[in-house]
Symmetry: C2
Subunit: 451 residues, 2 copies
C-alpha cells in the first residue's frame, strides 16, 4: 500500500541516484492539515481585458489570507504559490495571446506543489462562436501546463457561470479554496464547472462540514475509511455503511471518528428501505450521500460468467440508483443536499478485462449527467469523482511492472493516496459547494489515460 | 515514415519471434479499396427488447450486401465480420445484462479487423435518468471491448437520435458503412452521434463525393496530400491549397488527381477574401471545406517566444475562423455543405512542450461545438477529426523511444497512416453524412492517451 520507490527518491541518497540515472522523480506532494495556509507563497493574479472575475477572486483570496500580487509591480525573481488568471475577458482566439503574456514570464517561478488556475466562461453560455471557441481553447492550455510544470504543480480550468460579483463570490469560494489548498494535491488537468446553484459558506473553513449528516457506503476500508476520517475531521456526523462481513473493520473506523455504523448488504432488495428507515429514525435526514461502495470482478468478456457481470453492475451502479430513488422519494435529502458518487478512470477510458466494471463506472457518469439537472430545482447537487491509480489494498495486488506503469504514468509520477480522493469528495459535499453540480472530477494526478 | 517493426512482425520469421518473446504484435489492418465488400464475414445482428433500430439497420446491411445472422439460429463455431447490437431498448442498468448475453458467447468469434458496433439512444435525449444512465454506461463497455479484443477489431458506440424508420435509414447509413468498412481501420473506441440532419445517399457508394467541390488546406504533403487523393478517388473535384513555398509538391498532388491548386498563405489578411473570390469565380461554391493546414512550434511555455505562440494559434485556429466567416458570409457553402477541421489528441489531452499547439487544437473542438448548432438550420455540418500517432514526415523526426511508445500505446499496437485520417474526413464530408454534426472523432487506434 506504499510507494517505496517514491519514499526512496525523496530521501537524500535517493535524490543523488535519481539525478545521476535520470529515473522518474516523484515530488513530495503538499497535502492538507487543518490550520494550514492555502498556499506556500503569494498568488500572482492577472486578468484579460474586460474580465469579470478579478474583483470577486481578489476578495476570495483576501478572505483566505492569500497575498495577491499584481504582474505590473513584482520583482523579476519573485516566486509564487499560485498563478491565477481571469480569462473571462477573452472573446476571440487572437486574444489568447494575453494569457501567454501573463504566463510566459512566470512559468518557471511557481513554487513546488504550486497552483495554476485559469478561470473562464462556459463555452456553451458564450455569446458568439468566436468567444466559445477561444474559451474552449483554454482547456488545451491548462492540460498542457499540468503535464509540463512538474514538481507537484497542478493546473486547472474553472468555467464560471456569470452570476454578478456577490453571486460569484459565494459560488466560487469553495472551489478556489479547494484547488489552491493541499486538499487537491492529486487533482490536476481538470475542468471544473461552477454554476449558479445556492451555496452556503461555513462559519469556519477548517470545519466546512460542521453538523452535516453524511452517509458513506463501503466505509470499512481503503478509500471509504479515508473518506469517513476526512469528513469527520471536517465536522461531519458520519454514518458509515458496509457489508456485515466487514463489521469489525467498520466498527474500528466508527470508533476512531465517533461516527455510527450500519451493517447492510446493498444488493438485497430491502436494503434501500432499511437504510432510509435507519436514517429517518436516527437523524431525520441525510445531508450528503457518498456512493463509494464498489467491487471488481475482472475477466475478459469471453471468459466472464454472468455472475461477475451482474454483481459488478448491481453493486457499483444499480444499487446507487435504488438508494437515490428511495431517499429522494422519502424527502430524506433536504435542500442543500449532496450526492457524490465514485466513478473511475476505467469508466472514462474503458479497460481490458473490465467490461463489467467500466460499464458500471461509465453508468455512474450517466447518473450524474442525468440527475444533476433534475435535482437542481431542489438545490441538491450531484457530482462524481473518478480516481486514477490510488495506493490501496486492491492496487497493491497488481503485478509489479503493471503497477509501476500505472503509478508513474501521470503528471505527479506517483500513485495517489485514499486521502486525496476523500478530500475531493469532501469539497463536493460541502454546503459551500452548491454551485458545483454535474461535474466529474478525476483524482488521478493527471493520468495519461483517458478517452 | 514506415513502421519497420510492424512489417517485420507481419513476416513469417517475425511472427515466430514475437510469440516466443511476448513482443507487441501489431496486426495487419484491413483497409479500404474501391469495390471491397464492407466486411470479410457475416454480421451477427442482435437487439435488446423494445429496440427501435433493428429494422433500419437490417435494411442498411442488406442494401450493403452484408449477410446478417440471427443469434438464435447460428452454429456454435460461426465466425463473424461484425457484431452489431441495437441497445436502444435498454432503459435501466439492470437491462444491460441483455448486451452481455449477446456479446459474451461471441466475444471470441470476431474475425481479424472485425467490428463491434453498439447502437444506443443519446443520453441527453432519454426520457428518464435511469434510461440515460444505462445508455451512458454503454460507453464503458465499447471502450473496454476496443482495448480487449485485439487483432485489429474496432469497437464503437453510435448514439442515434430517433427520427422514425425511414429517417434512421437515411441518417445512419453512411456512418454504418464507414464503421463497418476498412475505411475506419484506425478508428476505435469512439462515440459517434447521429442526429436528425438532412442526408443525401449517393448513386454509387464507391463514389460518395461525386461532383462535390472540396477545398483542402495544407494539401501539399502528409495527411493533406493523402486527403486530396482519397477525396478525388471518391469522386470529388479537389481544390488543393498550400503556401507558395510548397508549390511544387502541391502541383505534383493536383496533377496526380486532376484537381486544381491554390497557392496562398492563409495567415495574410487578404487570404480569406482571395480564397473566396477564387472559389466563386472557378466553381461558384464550395461544398466541403477541410481545414487541414497546421504547424507545430514546440517549446515549454517558459522558453516559448511570442512568435511561436502567435504563429501556431493563427495558422491552426484563427485562420480557420476567418475563412469560415468569409465563406459563410458570402454564401459560398450551400445547404448540404460540410466543414471538417483537423484537431489533435494534444487538443484533447494537452501535451508537454505544446501549450500553443494544444490550445489551438482545443480551440478547433470549440469551433465545432459552437458552430455546429448555429449552422444546423442551413444544413451545413461541422465536425473535426483528432488524429493520434500518424506515420508522417513529422512523426518520423520524433526520437526513437518516444516514437515507439506513441506507436504502440493504442489498441492497434501501431501508428496510423495518413490515409486513415483521410478516410475519416471523407466520411464526414459525404452528402450522405448530413446527420453527423458536432462530432469530434479520434483517429488514433484507440490511443491510451486522453483526458
Amino acid at each position: 500500500m506504499t510507494d517505496r520507490y517514491a519514499s526512496f527518491v525523496q530521501s537524500g541518497a535517493g535524490r543523488t541516484l535519481v539525478k545521476r540515472l535520470g529515473l522518474p522523480d516523484p515530488p513530495r506532494l503538499r497535502r492538507h492539515t487543518p490550520g494550514d495556509p492555502l498556499l506556500t507563497g503569494p498568488a500572482l493574479l492577472g486578468a484579460a481585458t474586460g474580465g469579470r472575475l478579478a474583483e470577486p477572486v481578489g476578495k476570495i483570496l483576501a478572505f483566505a489570507g492569500v497575498e495577491a500580487r499584481d504582474p505590473l509591480t513584482i520583482d523579476a525573481d519573485a516566486r509564487f504559490g499560485a498563478l491565477v488568471y481571469d480569462a473571462t475577458g477573452i472573446t476571440d482566439s487572437t486574444d489568447l495571446r494575453q494569457l501567454y503574456d501573463f504566463l510566459h514570464p512566470h512559468a518557471r517561478s511557481v513554487l513546488p506543489s504550486g497552483r495554476v488556475i485559469v478561470l473562464g466562461a462556459p463555452p456553451a453560455e458564450c455569446g458568439s462562436p468566436r468567444e466559445a471557441t477561444a474559451q474552449r481553447a483554454l482547456e488545451g492550455l491548462t492540460r498542457s501546463i499540468g503535464k509540463e510544470f512538474g514538481r507537484g504543480v497542478t493546473a486547472q480550468l474553472v468555467y464560471v457561470t456569470p452570476t454578478g460579483d456577490d453571486g460569484t463570490l459565494t459560488s466560487l469560494e469553495s472551489t478556489l479554496r479547494f484547488l489552491l489548498s493541499g486538499r487537491s494535491a492529486y487533482v490536476s488537468g481538470q475542468v471544473v464547472r461552477v454554476g449558479a446553484g445556492q451555496a452556503q459558506a461555513p462559519a469556519d473553513w477548517d470545519r466546512p462540514l460542521d453538523g452535516q449528516v453524511v452517509l458513506v457506503t463501503g466505509a470499512a476500508r481503503g478509500i471509504g475509511a479515508a473518506l469517513a476520517r476526512v469528513l469527520a475531521r471536517d465536522g461531519a456526523q458520519v454514518v458509515a455503511l458496509d457489508v456485515p462481513a466487514a463489521g469489525d473493520a467498520l466498527a474500528a473506523v466508527t470508533n476512531e471518528i465517533g461516527g455510527s455504523a450500519v451493517q447492510l448488504d446493498l444488493t438485497t432488495p430491502e436494503a434501500p428501505t432499511r437504510l432510509a428507515e435507519h436514517l429517518a429514525a436516527r437523524h431525520g435526514r441525510v445531508d450528503v450521500v457518498v456512493h463509494n461502495a464498489g467491487i471488481t470482478r475482472d475477466k475478459t468478456l469471453g471468459r466472464m460468467d454472468a455472475d461477475r457481470w451482474d454483481s459488478v453492475i448491481d453493486v457499483n451502479l444499480s444499487s446507487q440508483e435504488r438508494i437515490n430513488d428511495v431517499l429522494l422519494e422519502r424527502k430524506l435529502i433536504p435542500a442543500g443536499g449532496r450526492i457524490v458518487a465514485v466513478s473511475s478512470i476505467a469508466g472514462i477510458a474503458g479497460n481490458r478485462g473490465q467490461t463489467n466494471y467500466a460499464t458500471s463506472k461509465a453508468g455512474v457518469i450517466g447518473l450524474v449527467d442525468s440527475l444533476a439537472p433534475v435535482l437542481r430545482e431542489e438545490q441538491i447537487s450531484v457530482n462524481a469523482v473518478a480516481p486514477g491509480f490510488i495506493e490501496t489494498r486492491l492496487t497493491a495486488r497488481i503485478p509489479l511492472m503493471v503497477r509501476e506503469a500505472g503509478r508513474r504514468m501521470n503528471s505527479m509520477s506517483q500513485g495517489g493516496l485514499p486521502v486525496d480522493v476523500a478530500e475531493t469528495i469532501g469539497w463536493l459535499a460541502w454546503p459551500a459547494s452548491g454551485a458545483v453540480s454535474g461535474n466529474i472530477v478525476r483524482v488521478c494526478g493527471q493520468s495519461l489515460l483517458g478517452a
